[in-house]
Structures are given as C-alpha cells and as structure tokens.
C-alpha cells in the first residue's frame, strides 16, 4: 500500500526521483479532464440550442421576443404570448408561494416543538419529491375541474369587475397553471428559508428580545434582515424553477395562441409550447423558432440562477463578519 523505500527499477522511478508520481499525475489529469468536460458541457448546451435557433434569430431578430404571433400557415412567429404566459404564471406562483414558504419555515423553526417540526418538515420535503408529471396528472383530472367549478366562480363572485377575473371559468388556463407552479415552488423555497432561519445566530435574536421586543418583532427586525439576501436567493431559485417547468404547465395551461387578459383563459408558456410543438414542426423555420423559444427560456433561467448566486455569494462574504 505505501511506497516505503525507493526502488530504482520500478516504473515511474525516474519521475519519482524528481518528486512526480505517475499515479498522481494520471489521477489529477483524469479529474481535470472531467471538470473540463463538465464546463464544456455547459458551453455545448448553449451552443447547440443557439445554433439550432439561429435561422429564426436571423429571420426575426430580437423583436421576436416581443412580437405576438404564432402562425405556421403564414410562417411568422413571435414569442410574446409565451413569454407573457411564463412570466405571469411564475410571478403569481412566486407571490403566493413566498409568504407561504416563509410562514412554513418560521413555523418549523420557531413555533413548532421539535417533535412536531421534524415530521412536518419531512412532509414538506416529500412534496418536493413529487414528480411534476404526477402533479400535472392531478392537475388535469382533479385540480383543473375543481378550479373551474369552485375556485374561479368564487373568485369571480367578488372580483368579477376586474378584467383579470372576467370571462368563463375554465379548467385549463393561466390560473390553474400558476397554482400548480405554486405547489411546486413551496417546498424548495421553504426548505431554503428553513435553513436560513435555523442558522440565524441565536445571540442576535436573544439580544433583540432582551431589549423588549416580542418574538415576532425580533423575527421581523433581526431574522428577516439577516436572512433577507438568502430569502431573495430562495425566491430567485424558485422563480427559476417555475420558469423552467414545462410538463405540468403543459398539462393544465390550455395551449392558447394569443394573449388573453383574464387569468381564467387558456394561455401558454415557453416550456409548454416547446413540449407541445417541437416534434411536429411543419417547417424548418417553425422548428428553429421553437428552439428560439428554448434559447429565450435558457437565458432567463440562467439570469435568475446567476442572480441568485451573486446575491448569495455577495452576502455570504459580508455575513462572515458575524
């Protein structure tokens, strides 16, 4: 096992005399190669998607992103409907999921006794483990009809004056898709928040309470301030997840071709449109337009992801002062 003693006849002995061990060099080389390959993979993904989208990028330019069109008959395409759908469903999901996630994390770290917190934490994590296609299955067969028959009429009864809640209730549309995304984001965001809250230095909290604040005031004043960048990162990560979800959204969003104001109406998102139409594009331009959608999706996911990381790293450094 150990190479005690120097054997001049052994292979690699010449190198070893100079302090270079063959095994080490090889191993390091292999590990380096793997790392280079991993980096190259990322570059390759970006390159492949962009080069496949290039014909559409060349044809339509950047205005593709804000053009509302998707007409295979006239062979003109634009991404606005899907960018709108992606952004609206994700923002609604975020607005609903963030306070819920923070509240759940607070419950688990501050309020619940340990015996209750552990199983509930496990349960919330198990929600994260539910595959998106299963949530979509539940969405089509159970949740969608419930939204159409119960939730949307109820919302319309007192919010019907608002164009967002006008129109006919439908089991496939922006609202069911946003709600399904909410269910998907909650476990991720609440897990990160829980980590953050449990890592808040106790002496900060105790100090605040010693000064006479109630527990909620201490949480609001100290814990949130301490965890704010982390929460922002968690929100961004949840947002990135919501942007990228294609399957469950495709199952409940209704595949519309144009933008409708009402949240009840069918819509479509970037990922969902790609999943629905990529395999059956009628022309090369449609195929590369769909890939252009993929490129847009990749870019916005990357941006939110990188933003989240920048925030985490930036504030990790400043937090080290504690």
């Amino acid at each position: 096992m150990t190479s005690v003693g120097y054997d001049p006849a052994a292979p690699g002995a010449e190198l070893e005399r100079r302090g270079i061990r063959l095994g080490d060099v090889l191993f390091q080389g292999v590990a380096l190669a793997a790392s280079v390959a991993a980096t190259a993979l990322l570059g390759l993904i970006a390159y492949q998607v962009f080069s496949d989208a290039w014909p559409a990028i060349e044809q339509f330019g950047l205005s593709f992103v804000w053009t509302e069109a998707w007409d295979p008959v006239k062979d003109t395409y634009g991404a606005l409907t899907f960018v709108y759908g992606t952004v609206v469903t994700s923002i609604i999901a975020l607005l609903l999921a963030t306070p819920l996630s923070i509240a759940i994390a607070l419950f688990l770290t501050e309020i619940a006794p340990r015996r209750v917190a552990a199983p509930i934490a496990t349960l919330v994590e198990l929600l994260a483990a539910v595959p998106s296609v299963v949530l979509g299955l539940w969405g089509i067969l159970v949740f969608g009809p419930w939204v159409r028959d119960t939730l949307e009429p109820w919302l319309q009864s007192f919010l019907g004056w608002c164009p967002l809640f006008s129109g006919e209730p439908s089991q496939a549309g922006m609202l069911p898709a946003a709600l399904v995304l909410t269910i998907m984001i909650i476990p991720i965001t609440s897990a990160i928040c829980r980590e953050l809250f449990s890592r808040t230095p106790r002496d900060l909290m105790d100090g605040a309470m010693a000064l006479g604040s109630t527990r909620w005031e201490a949480i609001r004043g100290v814990m949130f301030a301490y965890a704010a960048p982390g929460i922002a990162a968690a929100v961004l990560l949840g947002l990135g997840r919501a942007f990228g979800e294609a399957i469950a959204v495709n199952q409940v969003i209704g595949g519309a071709n144009s933008i409708h104001i009402s949240l009840f109406a069918p819509a479509d998102s970037l990922g969902s449109r790609i999943a629905a139409q990529y395999q059956g594009a009628t022309s090369a331009l449609q195929a590369s337009s769909i890939l252009y959608l993929g490129a847009i999706l990749m870019v916005i996911s990357l941006v939110t992801n990188v933003l989240a990381q920048v925030i985490v790293r930036r504030f990790e450094r400043s937090r080290r002062a504690y």
């Binding site: 292999v30 296609v133 299955l137 527990r215 990357l302």
Partner: protein, 297 residues
C-alpha cells in the same frame, strides 16, 4: 426566561401602551404561520391521497405484467417499468463516476478561484431547465440517428451531474484536512489518499447525493419526451431503441379520455411516487447516520 403574568399592573418591562397590540400581532402572525404549515400539509395530503386512492384501485397483477395497451385495449406498465429501470440505471453509470471525479478535482486539486468557478458552472448547469436539456440532446444526438434509451439515459445523466457533483464536493470538504495530511505524511500517494481514505469517509454523503439525484431524475418527463418516447408497446430491453418509461407513460395516460387509461395513470403515478419517496427516506436515513457518526467521532 420566566414568564411574568401579563397583568399590566405588575408589568415591570417597559410600559408601552401598545404592548397588548404587539402581543396580538404576535399571536396573529403565529397563527398565520401555523395555518400555512397546515395548508402545505393539506395540499400534500390531498395530492398523495388522491394518487393513492385512485391508484390503488387500478393496481392488479395484470398491471405489473402487461405492457402499455394499444387503442381500446387493457394493459399495464410492465414495459415502462423495465424501460425506466434500464434508463435510470444507465444514467447512474454515466453520471456518478464523472460527478465524483469533478468533485474530487474541485476539492483536492483546484485552487480556490478555480474551485469557485467550477462551483458556479455546476450551479448554472443545475439551473438549466430539463426541457432545454431535452432539446439539447435531441439536436445533438437524436437527429439523424433516431431515439434510443441510451440517449435518454444521457439526458438524465446531464441532469444528475451537477446534483451529485455538488453533494460530493460538499461532503469531501467536510472530511478533516488532518486525515489527508496524516495519510500523506505516511507516504501514501495523493491519489491513493483520495480514493482509499477520503472517499470512503465521505461515502455516506455521496450516497445521499446520489439517491436524491436518482429520485429527482426518475420522475423527469421532458428530456425523455425527446429522446425515448417512440417506443413499442411491449417489454423490451433493447437499449439501442427507445424504451417506454414511467413518466412518459403517465404523461400520455393523463391526457387520455379513457377512464381505464386514466386509472392506469394514477396507478403508475402511485408506483413512481412510492419509488421516489422510498429513495428520499433512504437518503434521510443515510444522512442521519452519517451525521450521528461524525458527531460521535
């Protein structure tokens, strides 16, 4: 901290007129927090409960032994089970050694700057949506060659790589430097140190990372739609062609108007959820053991 009776007459803390209101606010927010947790648990119970309730009724021996049905016939998920097992298995073989090597490079050989750069690369890879990975593998491999289970496995491996690599790297960093230094001091080569000393110490965490990654990709549908969705309605182990998989089958069943196919969708979802849940529980147990072991040591 002793609790003083909240009678304001004996309140020796700072007399603020709003104390009652502040306490009410405290109670209100606590109530909201509890309600949120209840909502989360309720949603989970709802989803899981529906899957179990509707899925159980469709479970039968036929379900596990017959392949997917053709139009208007009865069937099961035997072919999808075999296909999923093969594809996930191949994805593990492709991803795990690769990920571990990357993690080793990051923790053992790379300088701090390079390590951070690689960490960023992995985190960015982690954030690439599964459907983008799907169209990437489609454009790179499937076009001109046809779908195959191997390409499907490759797309899942791409998804697994950042998860396993980051988990491994984090665990490797926890291994105390003194362990490595002692081994090197004894004359063990650097690579042997890593392979025989550092890795085995970290194996619990690596296993946890692997199990969680497998649980995640076992349910991924989008990449498989592009790489392994045109498959025969029969049990096959030919990995050079596309194989049916559990997530894609669920996806197809979910859109069907046929109540029999919908029932099969629920049952398949039940099988998938059980598999994923079991894996998550295994990961937790292993992680807890690891923690106990390192705390006790």
């Amino acid at each position: 901290m002793t609790t003083i009776p909240s009678d304001d007459r004996y309140d020796i803390t700072v007399r603020s007129a709003g104390l009652r209101r502040r306490k009410l606010t405290e109670k209100a927010y606590a109530g909201l927090a509890v309600a949120s947790a209840v909502i989360a648990v309720a949603i989970l119970a709802l989803v899981l409960g529906t899957v179990i309730h509707r899925g159980l009724s469709a479970l039968s021996l036929d379900f596990f032994t017959k392949p997917r049905p053709l139009f208007g016939q009865a069937g099961g998920i035997a072919d999808a089970l075999v296909g999923s097992a093969l594809i996930v298995g191949m994805a593990m073989v492709m991803a795990i050694p690769f990920s571990i090597l990357v993690a080793i490079f990051m923790s053992e050989y790379a300088g701090p700057r390079l390590s951070v750069a690689l960490r960023i690369v992995l985190d960015v890879l982690n954030g690439v949506p599964a459907i983008v990975v799907g169209i990437f593998v489609f454009g790179l491999l499937v076009v001109g060659r046809g779908q195959s289970a191997i390409f499907g496995a490759f797309s899942l491996a791409v998804l697994m790589l950042p998860m396993v690599a980051r988990a491994t790297q984090e665990v490797l960093e926890i291994v105390p430097r003194s362990l490595r230094e002692a081994s090197l001091a004894l004359g063990v080569t650097r690579w042997r140190t890593t392979v025989s000393i550092v890795l085995p110490t970290a194996i619990g965490g690596i296993l946890t990372g692997v199990v969680i990654a497998v649980a995640r990709v076992a349910g991924e549908t989008a990449p498989l739609l592009f790489t392994s969705s045109i498959a025969a309605n029969q049990v096959s182990t030919d990995v050079t062609h596309a194989l049916p998989t559990l997530p894609v089958s669920i996806f197809v069943f979910s859109e069907s108007p046929d109540p029999n196919e919908q029932a099969m969708g629920w049952a398949a979802a039940l099988v998938l959820i059980l598999f994923v849940l079991v894996l998550n529980i295994v990961a937790k147990v292993v992680a807890a053991r690891q923690r106990r072991r390192s705390e006790g040591a």
